[in-house]
């Protein structure tokens, strides 16, 4: 057989070798088939730790309790005690170092998440006190009249005040 048959073969072999050499440099060492097998487990193992290293922003009430034990305790005795502090006060991150103060969400929209009256007869929403946002003091901040840390007492005393005026 003449060399014109072999020459393209040499090129092909050279290309394969080149790809294999490039592969050893480009593919990370921990890339391969891991615990979940060929179909589900082929990946770069180091990526698992990259996901584990994501910063935790919401530290939960147990973290708030370290300094604000009185608030956490008093809130826990009200119907709003089921709400995590950070839902309204924002993620704690490394507070009080960073950020030194948290931004409290006092907006009407926050309260309406639960307290806008909806027609949802077969969900837990039906058991929550709801208002019509278009007619119930539109534009006013809810905390002007209602204490989010003690929703029962303030609204109750308001109700009594209104009754005594009549």
């Amino acid at each position: 057989m003449g060399s014109h048959v072999w020459r393209p073969l040499y090129i092909a072999v050279a290309l394969i070798v080149l790809v294999l050499i490039a592969r050893t440099f480009l593919v990370p060492e921990d890339f391969g088939v891991h615990e979940r097998g060929y179909m589900y487990g082929m990946h770069r193992k180091g990526n698992e730790n990259e996901w584990k290293a994501v910063t935790v922003k919401y530290r939960t009430a147990s973290y708030c309790k370290e300094c604000h034990a009185d608030k956490v305790e008093s809130l826990s005795r009200t119907p709003h005690g089921i709400i995590n502090c950070e839902n309204c006060h924002g993620p704690a991150l490394n507070h009080p170092d960073d950020p030194p103060t948290l931004t409290i969400d006092r907006s009407r929209a926050l309260c309406l998440r639960c307290h806008a009256a909806l027609t949802t007869p077969t969900s837990g929403r039906a058991n929550i006190v709801g208002i019509n946002p278009d007619t119930h003091n539109p534009g006013a901040e809810c905390s002007l009249c209602h204490d989010p840390h003690n929703p029962i007492s303030r609204s109750h005393s308001d109700e009594q005040a209104r009754l005594s005026q009549k």
């Binding site: 996901w51 950070e86 998440r113 639960c114 837990g124």
Partner: protein, 260 residues
């Protein structure tokens, strides 16, 4: 019956009998509870109580902040759907901005078709269904990845390697639950990680911690004393799109036939 038909029918019957019962079984959480030879002592599973959900959307807001998903984009790793079924049997589903700001009106958001008013007296049932990645035991999204960028960890969570993902979006198409999206900043596939950085530190996911009503719970299927595992093993639960064979690991209490 001639001889040809007799042979045909016999072969069909024999083939039918040959299918083992186990092949027809769609999902069995007990199998996952039994420890696998790979030695992992953890298999994360999620429990959603649709009876408890009130559609406040605190979970969606917390998830977006915790996982650094741009607040103003429409992509979200978890979302809440509202189902309104009328007495005439028509079902309306909406999830404005993934319920990032909760549900505050009775009008149904039908996107380009505008807002739909529904007469209160016509409502047969209405409820909320939180959705998130099902962390399937047989994840279709992982099978289709051409570059090994998405994978399942030994404890059952499906993750995306942002350094290896080429953004072909094949996995986004493959997911039957549409939980994957495209991250506008990283230009890679984006999905719920069960807050891998939190659960591996002994914390709960951001959405579980944000839920005031206990509608979301996470547990370890390989721990028989885990309250979530106990509920799942009771068998009084459902999963989404069971017929796809992906073996989803997000279990639902109070699932309705309208939910897809």
């Amino acid at each position: 019956m001639n001889r040809r038909d007799f042979l045909k029918n016999s072969i069909t019957v024999i083939a039918g009998l040959a299918v083992p019962l186990s092949a027809l079984e769609l999902i069995n959480p007990r199998k996952l509870l039994a420890e696998k030879p790979d030695g992992s002592r953890v298999r994360w599973a999620f429990l959603v109580d649709t009876q408890a959900c009130v559609g406040c959307g605190f979970c969606v807001k917390a998830c977006k902040t915790e996982n650094e998903i741009p607040h103003e984009t429409n992509i979200t790793r978890t979302w809440v759907e509202r189902y309104v079924v009328t007495k005439k049997g028509k079902t309306y589903v909406d999830s404005p901005k993934g319920a990032r700001d909760g549900f505050t009106t009775d009008r149904i958001d039908l996107n380009e078709e505008g807002l739909q008013e529904i007469n209160k007296d016509d409502v047969e049932k209405a409820f909320f269904v939180p959705k998130l990645c099902n962390q399937c035991e047989n994840p279709a999204c992982v099978q289709v990845c051409p570059v090994g960028a998405t994978y399942q960890t030994p404890d059952g969570v499906v993750l995306v390697d942002r350094k290896h993902c080429i953004g072909c979006a094949y996995c986004i198409m493959a997911c039957p639950y549409a939980v994957r999206s495209f991250h506008p900043e990283y230009k890679t596939a984006e999905k719920c990680t069960f807050c891998y950085h939190r659960i591996t530190k002994g914390m709960k996911t951001a959405c579980v911690d944000a839920c005031p009503f206990g509608a979301r719970k996470i547990g370890n299927l390989r721990d028989p004393d885990d309250p979530v595992t106990k509920t799942i093993m009771s068998g009084r639960i459902g999963v989404l799109k069971e017929q796809y064979g992906t073996k989803p690991q997000v279990y639902y209490i109070g699932l309705s036939k309208e939910v897809k």
